[in-house]
Symmetry: C2
Subunit: 347 residues, 2 copies
């Protein structure tokens, strides 16, 4: 059996003001005109596994919105983390859920809800290859994406030699500085860490027991999940397991991929006009270049600019957000300031 786990707990403050506490990035239609990112993630994988085998792990605040917005998913497959932890406890919880439904020889494919994937057919083939490898090997398999630019916002996976197929991982690298990123891309031995994982439940349980014994203990004897989960450490699967394990393999994927980390990603993912502006909704830009302008108002509000260059402008009915593209990552600082000011009505 194969179970797919889609991690969909992110709060996505970097897409404020379109994203909100109960409507984070994975519930936005950022990369498709009519489908949310989570809907796209499910659509991509439901060709490969029955929908009963697709689990969505999210936060308690998002459980109901996701259940409501995904009628095709069995409601019991939308699982809320009892507390906000990191990806290692999250995936342990998923393993516990899978063990309730099947045996330890099942393969668990961990996918993301909020990344852009440009070639769903190629993605499906690559996922199938990883699942097959995980089923037949005692390995932790991850998906690495061939870099197309010296991106400093992603983690990298080092291999001896990048080649088609699945190869052992030499090391994981944190987000590099620009010079290092350029070295990585030029060397041809580094892949982007896409955050997708494939393993037998038994292999995963063994790895947890070895590298994160507290989390491993939770897996083997969860007891009252709500109580025991809350005691787990706040640690990522990359840091807690993947960087420490010796049986890590990576599949070099070739599909276009982007983590859609902040508003400036739209400049990469959406078609720009002649002035390299990416616009959505009623806008009038005069002598303006290389901007991302989203008018998400529901009235006949018009968003305009003159002489505007390299900025992000997002307007909703109740909030306007403006930043240089180079500061797209810092939109979360506005969210923090609004929270500090008690403006919870726009969060």
């Amino acid at each position: 059996m194969t179970y797919v786990v889609i991690m969909a707990g992110g709060s996505g403050e970097r897409f404020w003001p379109v994203s909100r506490l109960t409507k984070p990035k994975q519930l936005l239609k950022l990369t498709h005109p009519t489908m949310t990112m989570l809907e796209q993630a499910v659509e991509r994988i439901e060709r490969l596994v029955p929908v009963e085998n697709i689990l969505v792990i999210t936060s308690s605040v998002l459980q109901q919105p996701i259940t409501d917005s995904m009628p095709a998913l069995p409601p019991q497959n939308v699982i809320a983390e009892p507390a906000k932890r990191n990806t290692a406890p999250c995936l342990a919880l998923a393993a516990v859920e899978i063990r309730k439904r099947t045996d330890e020889d099942s393969v668990m494919a961990v996918l993301t809800a909020d990344h852009f994937i440009g070639d769903p057919l190629r993605f499906g083939k690559d996922v199938e290859e990883c699942i097959q490898f995980a089923r037949t090997h005692d390995a932790l398999v991850t998906m690495g994406v061939r870099p197309t630019r010296p991106e400093t916002g992603y983690g990298y996976i080092e291999v001896d030699e990048a080649q088609e197929g699945i190869v052992p991982v030499r090391s994981f690298k944190e987000k590099p500085n620009p010079a290092t990123a350029l070295d990585y891309v030029r060397s041809g031995r580094y892949l982007w860490n896409s955050g997708m994982f494939f393993w037998r439940v038994s292999t995963f349980e063994k790895a947890l027991a070895e590298h994160l014994p507290e989390v491993g203990q939770f897996c083997s004897a969860p007891g009252d999940v709500a109580t025991s989960f809350a005691r787990l450490p706040d640690i990522s699967i990359d840091y807690g397991v993947m960087e420490r394990a010796s049986n890590v393999h990576v599949k070099q994927a070739a599909f276009p991929w982007d983590d859609v980390g902040s508003w400036d990603a739209l400049a990469r993912l959406r078609g720009a006009d002649d002035a390299e502006n990416v616009v959505n909704g009623p806008t009038v830009l005069v002598d303006s270049q290389r901007n991302v302008v989203v008018n998400a108002t529901t009235t006949d509000h018009v968003v305009t600019g003159v002489g505007l260059k390299d900025h992000i402008v997002i307007v909703t009915d109740d909030a306007t957000m403006i930043a240089p593209k180079s500061r797209a990552q810092d939109v979360k600082n506005i969210v923090k300031a609004l929270r500090d000011k008690g403006r919870d009505n726009v969060l």
Copy 2:
């Protein structure tokens, strides 16, 4: 007798989206929390002349809004130009109106409706001095403002020597380039052209007859004003009369003055915060400096930015306008683009 003519016909596209076709700059509260610029202009002068002697000359589209918004003014004193012309025909029309009410020896004081004047008492004294000079001399008197910076957006008035009191004008200068503006300021012999004028009606009529005979003819025999006004040339009083006449004098005024030509003027006129931002309405700026941000929405909309520097952001219920401060003059290009697109609902 003294008549005051306040020119209030401007369309003020550079303050869009707060200014609109029927609500231009002079009807906005740009420089005072509760009074429009026109209300301030009238208040400044009604200490000096009875309100019956204050004429407001405006466009036909603004006649009603101004009449409604200025209940203290006699309705017949709000006069609409029959057609859109420049300041020379506008002031000829004012002279015709004044001659209907009084004789040619009356002094006509021409003031502006949409400029900032920082010291109303000093302004009143200077105006009285100009009126007195005009009453006793066959002179075209203008008010020049001592420059406080090498402004390239204003016209300049050259005198032999700047001094207190009223002196002959040597020449008028168009808006200078930055180097020339610096020379002007350093020389001490140049004043800003404030667009205020003082003359006896008879002196003005003589000047028109000599330098703009068509307009002079209109003054002496207007006939059917609606028809004859429309035939007048589109020419400014500066270009058509002041630059050509030999009897021009200037009063060196000392009150703070600003033409409030575009949104960036607010940075000069309003108090800024520690980060040199001038903000109005609910805003949250993180790590942002030297911006002008106006949230003029009537809902609980919040305007936010991060890393924003030297920009103008204006938000109303139905429009957002963003530009670098250096492009403040070009807001009119947005208005033009909206007109071309048929978005008249926001103009």
